[in-house]
Every structure is written in structure tokens, then in C-alpha cells.
């Protein structure tokens, strides 16, 4: 199947790093996820490993802190060569509501001035595009989203805020994303998503997986309040669409 050159290297005593070509590409990301899936099928002790995909890399961490690197590298290479195409799990496009009212979009006016675009056009561009989840990290449930249109690229705030509220939707550089918890942060905040991205009481605490896609849609303040209550009592119906391979 794929012919990407990969590089397998030790990462300390208990991890192995596999790197694909250094570029942001959906094809590479999907190849990584395909490989991760065959690893889970092929490696008998796969439950002792934690797999972290991000952009062009996959990090495998061994729970028991013991790796025979050259043997594992050989097995990983064999697994990479012999896997079947399309082994990845079902991917979804998640439609997430965002209230872009100025009450939440505290930097919208500033962003509008910097970009020379009306607030309406910013919202239109932000909700029109579909973003791919290239990784999760920084905070539990935080998604690294790729695919932000050039017209929405902005510099980070020069002085980060000490507290950005949970659900805040931000823009920074080539990225857009949602703060899953209250956190310090330097992104330009343009709205708020009422849906909890991370629930510690669920065995799978975050419904989104790396490789999924996200599209935002604008909601009114009243709809925001409703969805917030629905998500708190656990009756909010997430809008998801299967993505064909």
C-alpha cells in the first residue's frame, strides 16, 4: 500500500517515535491512523501501549517501560509493510454550535479591524470551512485543527489572558480551536461552544478522535443557553456525519 518513507526512532526508555514526511497533509494523517489500527490488530500486547498520533508522527509509549528497540522496530516495519489498506476506524464530521455574540466573542471586533473584514464575514468564513483534527493535546480534549482559511489567520495576542473560559473558540496563526476547560491562553476569542468536549465520567471522555473533522455553525444566544442545559443534563444530541473513506 502506501509508500511513505517512515523513520522509527527510540524516544527515551519507554517510547518509540515514528515519523512520516514533515508536512501537514490529510493523506499522511490517514496513513498514520491506518497504521495505528493495524498495530492494534497485529501486536498481541497492544493494550500495553499508548498511541499518540499528531500531524506527521505516531508515538508509541509502553506501559511497562521496557522496550527491546531493535526487535520492536523490526516488527513495526513488518506491520507497516504488510498492512491492508483502509484499516482505519470510521471517521466522523462533527457539527458544533458556536455563539458568536460579542458577549463571548470578546476579540471579534479587534480581529475584524486587524483583518479588515466585517464580523459577519468572519463568522461566514469560520463556519464555511471544514477542519481536520490533526492531534489532541495541550489540555484534555483540546483539538489541533487544520484547514483554517488564510483570510482568518491572525497573530496571537501579545499578552496572553490568565483565564480563557471553557468553550471559548479562538483563532491564532494558522489554527482555530476550542478551549475544553478554563485555561490561560493567548488566542483571539471569537465565540463560545456550549457543548462539553471532555467528560471525565465517560469511559471515552472525548467523542472526537484524531482524523475526524469539525464544522462550526452559528447559533443565537437563546440556542446557546438551551444547548448548554442539554449538554449539562446529558441529552444534547450531537450532530455527526459519517465520512466515507
Amino acid at each position: 500500500m502506501s509508500s511513505y518513507p517512515i523513520l522509527i526512532r527510540p524516544f527515551g526508555e519507554d517510547a518509540i517515535l515514528i515519523e512520516w514526511p514533515n508536512e501537514v497533509s490529510e493523506a499522511i494523517l490517514y496513513d498514520i491512523l491506518d497504521f495505528a489500527e493495524s498495530f492494534k490488530l497485529v501486536f498481541k500486547d497492544s493494550n500495553k501501549w499508548e498511541l499518540i498520533p499528531a500531524y506527521n508522527s505516531l508515538t508509541l509509549i509502553n506501559r511497562e517501560n521496557k522496550i527491546d528497540f531493535s526487535k520492536t522496530k523490526f516488527l513495526l516495519q513488518e506491520c507497516f509493510k504488510n498492512r491492508k489498506a483502509g484499516g482505519h476506524p470510521q471517521r466522523y464530521l462533527w457539527k458544533l454550535p458556536v455563539c458568536y455574540d460579542l458577549e463571548f466573542g470578546i476579540d471579534l471586533e479587534e480581529v475584524s479591524t486587524t483583518l479588515g473584514k466585517s464580523i459577519e464575514d468572519i463568522i461566514k468564513a469560520h463556519t464555511h470551512h471544514i477542519y481536520t483534527v490533526y492531534g489532541m493535546g495541550f489540555l484534555p480534549g483540546f483539538m489541533y485543527l487544520g484547514g483554517l482559511p488564510k483570510e482568518l489567520e491572525t497573530a496571537r495576542k501579545s499578552v496572553p489572558r490568565l483565564r480563557v473560559f471553557k468553550g471559548s473558540v479562538g483563532l491564532a496563526g494558522k489554527q482555530t480551536g476550542i478551549y475544553p476547560q478554563d485555561s490561560p491562553g493567548g488566542w483571539n476569542i471569537i465565540g463560545n461552544c456550549p457543548i462539553s468536549l471532555f467528560n471525565v465520567n465517560l469511559e471515552n471522555p472525548c467523542f472526537v478522535n484524531v482524523g475526524d473533522q469539525i464544522q462550526f455553525y452559528a447559533i443565537t444566544r437563546a440556542e446557546y443557553d438551551l444547548h448548554r442545559i442539554e449538554t449539562e443534563v446529558g441529552i444534547y444530541n450531537l450532530d455527526k456525519i459519517k465520512i466515507d473513506a
Binding site: N56, G135, M136, G137, V200, P205
Partner: protein
């Protein structure tokens, strides 16, 4: 149950960590100095995964409302039971009403208190390790009641051991990190001949070092980071990620600490010094 009379500077409940959620951005957490923690558990013949209390810099004051046995390892913080000094690295019995307190920090930075059967705080995502917002609290608070098992009889196989001195070491063993190659000759020389001072920005997430080793302009795509990953910021600052460190990062990962060196670093505090020694694959 054990009641917190005074929480100390920063005291948390930790176990071996929260494994299996890093792909969703959840740090592994767990004891910073897992060697000391595991000795505290083994003296009580607890399971390796039983939760202990990680005590940072100054200790708490705790009242036993249940009879139990306890042991203390790691940093030496002059513990007393009802005002009478008790030795670290030794099994002690506590009765209902006994008060365990800590005094002056003699060496190290983090002590581990284990009780027979472990601390039974809430399990969230398969671990009791405190980490907000996964657990409700990020540290113990005054008047908090911490569940423990009742034990009135226990004859340990080994009732005390000689405290180890390894955590007083200053040499950290490192492997090459994924972006090791970006280091220039002068940076390598500084890294492996210089002494580095622990900055005041040091906590369970990361230890920053004061000395800079020279700026760089290497850009990379965000990728996974581990406890013990040493990142180099564009300004030339070294940041060593620890157990609560974020699971991904965009700074070059120039070095990776050996597992035991993470535990050694966990016993260092502001202004202590460390040096790096390579161990090649």
C-alpha cells in the same frame, strides 16, 4: 478516614498514573519520584498501584480517624506523630486520634506518605492521581476527609530500610531527544559541561532551568511529549516536562531524561543545580 488539619504547601494524592488517555490530551500524572513512592508502598506490602500522598516542600498536619499503619519516604521533612519524631523509611502504627505532622525540610523536595491499603480518594479515568479538571481537586484542602482502610494488626516482613541517598544526586542521565540534531556544537558543549540551576518555575507540569544555551529558529509540527522530555524554546531556555506535563508540544525535544533521572529531578527545588550526562542508544 484521615482528616486534613493543615494541607501543607502543596499536597496531592498520586498513584502510578493515568494510562491510556494521552491520545485525548490527558497527562499521565502519577508520583513525580515514583521510586520513593514505591518504597513507601512496599514497606506496607501495598500494591504498586495503591495511591500515596505526595508532599511538596512543607508537610501537612493529618489526624487519623481510623487505625492504620503508615510509612514515609523521599524528602526528609522531620515527621512527628503526636509531637514525637518518627523515622522515615520505617513502618509506624497510628491509632484513632493520632496526629501526623511535618517539620523542617532537611533534604529533597517531595515526601511520600503511604498508609496500609492506600488512600481511597475518587478514581477518575482509572486513576486516583489528582489533576484538575480530571479530579475535582488539584491538592488536599483544610478539613478534607480522606478515606483509608482500617488496620489494627500488621506484622511487616521488613519494618524499616536504610534511606537511599540516590535522590541527592545531581547528575541526570539523558538520551538524545527526537530533535537532538538541531543542537550546535557550542550548545552541546554548554549542555554537557555546564551546571544548570532550577528556576522558580518548577512544578508537577515542568521544571524550567535558568541558564540559556542559545537561541534557535527550528520549527516543527506539534508532536508527542513525555515526562522527562527536555524542550528547547526559541530563546534557548530548557524546559523539562514532568508527570503533569502536556502530552504534545511544538518546541524541539532535544533530550529525554532516563526514567530514574525524572525521580532525581523531582527531588530538586528552586536554586538547586543539576548536570546532564549522555547515555547513548
Amino acid at each position: 478516614m484521615l482528616k486534613v488539619i493543615h494541607p501543607g504547601f502543596f499536597t496531592t494524592v498520586q498513584d502510578t498514573g493515568r494510562f491510556g488517555y494521552r491520545e485525548k490530551g490527558v497527562p499521565v500524572c502519577g508520583c513525580m519520584d515514583n521510586y520513593s513512592a514505591s518504597i513507601a508502598n512496599s514497606l506496607l506490602e501495598n500494591k504498586e498501584t495503591d495511591a500515596v500522598m505526595e508532599i511538596t516542600m512543607t508537610g501537612p498536619e493529618l489526624e487519623f480517624h481510623t487505625s492504620s499503619f503508615f510509612s514515609i519516604t523521599g524528602a526528609e521533612m522531620s515527621p512527628t506523630l503526636n509531637g514525637i519524631p518518627v523515622n522515615s523509611y520505617e513502618v509506624h502504627k497510628a491509632k484513632e486520634g493520632d496526629v501526623l505532622s511535618f517539620g523542617k525540610l532537611i533534604n529533597g523536595f517531595r515526601s511520600y506518605l503511604a498508609v496500609k491499603g492506600g488512600f481511597l480518594t475518587e478514581v477518575k479515568l482509572r486513576s486516583r492521581s489528582f489533576y484538575k479538571p480530571i479530579t475535582d481537586k488539584n491538592r488536599i484542602k483544610e478539613r478534607m476527609e480522606i478515606p483509608i482502610e482500617e488496620h489494627t494488626e500488621y506484622s511487616p516482613i521488613i519494618s524499616h530500610i536504610k534511606p537511599e541517598a540516590w535522590h541527592k544526586e545531581h547528575e541526570l542521565i539523558v538520551y538524545k531527544g527526537p530533535e537532538y540534531k538541531i543542537l550546535k556544537d557550542d550548545q552541546l558543549k554548554l549542555l554537557f559541561t555546564g551546571k544548570f540551576t532550577i528556576a522558580k518555575e518548577n512544578n508537577r507540569m515542568a521544571y524550567q532551568l535558568e541558564e540559556l544555551i542559545g537561541a534557535h529558529s527550528h520549527r516543527m509540527l506539534t508532536s508527542a511529549t513525555l515526562p522527562g522530555t527536555i524542550q528547547l524554546t526559541p530563546a534557548g531556555k530548557l524546559i523539562i516536562l514532568m508527570r503533569d506535563g502536556q502530552t504534545t508540544g511544538g518546541y524541539p525535544r532535544v533530550l529525554q531524561l532516563a526514567t530514574k533521572s525524572i525521580a532525581i529531578l523531582a527531588q530538586k527545588k528552586f536554586r538547586d543545580t543539576v548536570s546532564f550526562h549522555p547515555l547513548r542508544h
